[in-house]
């Protein structure tokens, strides 16, 4: 059994602080080259196949922009 996860980032709320990026144990997240309406490079799943749905990113996000999903496969 393995865990597969995915995150959804509220890209308009994200401030591009990178705190989620450094807290992701599987290097799933990176900051996008695109910016949101406030000019922040928002977080996104750069390597979605890595995500295990551990919720670490969402737990540390100061702006609570991340929703996490997880399935057992």
């Amino acid at each position: 059994m393995a865990l597969r996860g995915a995150i959804v980032v509220d890209t308009e709320k994200c401030k591009g602080c990178s705190v989620c990026v450094v807290n992701c144990p599987t290097n799933t997240i990176a900051l996008s080259k695109e910016v949101n309406s406030k000019g922040y490079n928002y977080a996104y799943m750069a390597s979605p196949e890595n995500c295990t749905g551990c919720t670490n990113c969402a737990t540390v996000c100061p702006d609570t922009c991340i929703t996490v999903y997880r399935v057992k496969v």
Partner: protein, 257 residues
């Protein structure tokens, strides 16, 4: 391996394992990117949701960056004059003994202008919870030295670094508070990583549970970063905090009775 599983098949309501607590309002926080205040607010809101006490909790916000905490956590709030949150919380708790009452204060608010209020509220053992955000600086007013500023640390008012002969040494106010007989639980935590945030959340919950048991004051310091005041990126500020703040403000319980 099922690495080819479609993201669409994972992102379904029944697979959701983490989402924003409804106790946090949808307002975009005014805090700087990466500020510890946001994470601390979220943890308070999650505890309130888990304990089912949204209708029974009254927060007292300070003067400082977190003055607007009432815009983010959907409970009843009061906003105190600078440093006076523990006095307001005392009155509130005495008038409404069945409510959960907490203060949320920065280090300038709690350890400088409000030293008398926090000391006496803790000494009286008011049945309140104190959330103390120690970012070693006055964030809101542009990064002036606080009593908690580290030795050698450069701020707007100590441009050559904090000096013992001029400014004295950093005030470990949490250690002093642990000596007061009115406190039942005094702990120092942090929120820069997931393990720390989860521990901080358990500490906040324990504080509220102590209030219900009328055990006295619970005091939770969160060693925090103010990346704007420290003039660092958010990630660098958190690293600097771990390296430089933790030796002066070691994490863990100082008192738990």
């Amino acid at each position: 391996m099922h690495t080819t599983m479609d993201i669409k098949d994972i992102i379904k309501p029944e697979n959701k394992v983490y989402s924003k607590t409804p106790v946090l309002l949808d307002n975009v926080m005014h805090y700087c990117p990466g500020c510890s205040h946001g994470t601390a607010h979220k943890l308070v809101a999650e505890v309130i949701e888990e304990m089912g006490i949204q209708e029974n909790t009254i927060g007292v916000s300070p003067v400082g960056c977190s003055v607007f905490a009432y815009n983010y956590v959907d409970i009843d709030w009061q906003q105190a004059a600078h440093g006076r949150a523990p006095a307001l919380a005392t009155a509130t708790k005495r008038l409404y003994p069945d409510k959960y009452v907490f203060t949320y204060q920065g280090d300038g608010d709690l350890a400088s202008i409000g030293t008398a209020e926090i000391m006496h509220a803790c000494n009286r053992g008011e049945n309140i919870v104190v959330i103390f955000i120690n970012n070693a600086i006055y964030g809101m007013t542009g990064g002036q030295m606080a009593p908690t500023t580290l030795m050698g640390m450069k701020t707007a008012t100590s441009p050559y670094g904090r000096r013992e002969d001029l400014h004295g040494k950093p005030l470990r106010i949490t250690d002093l508070i642990s000596q007061l007989e009115g406190t039942c639980y005094v702990t120092r935590q942090s929120v820069q990583n997931a393990a720390g945030a989860r521990k901080t959340k358990r500490a906040i919950r324990k504080g509220f549970e102590n209030s219900a048991k009328k055990k006295g004051t619970s005091f939770i310091e969160i060693v925090s970063s103010c990346n704007s005041g420290w003039k660092m990126s958010p990630v660098k500020a958190n690293e600097w905090m771990v390296e430089n703040m933790f030796p002066s403000y070691p994490l863990g319980d100082l008192k738990d009775i």
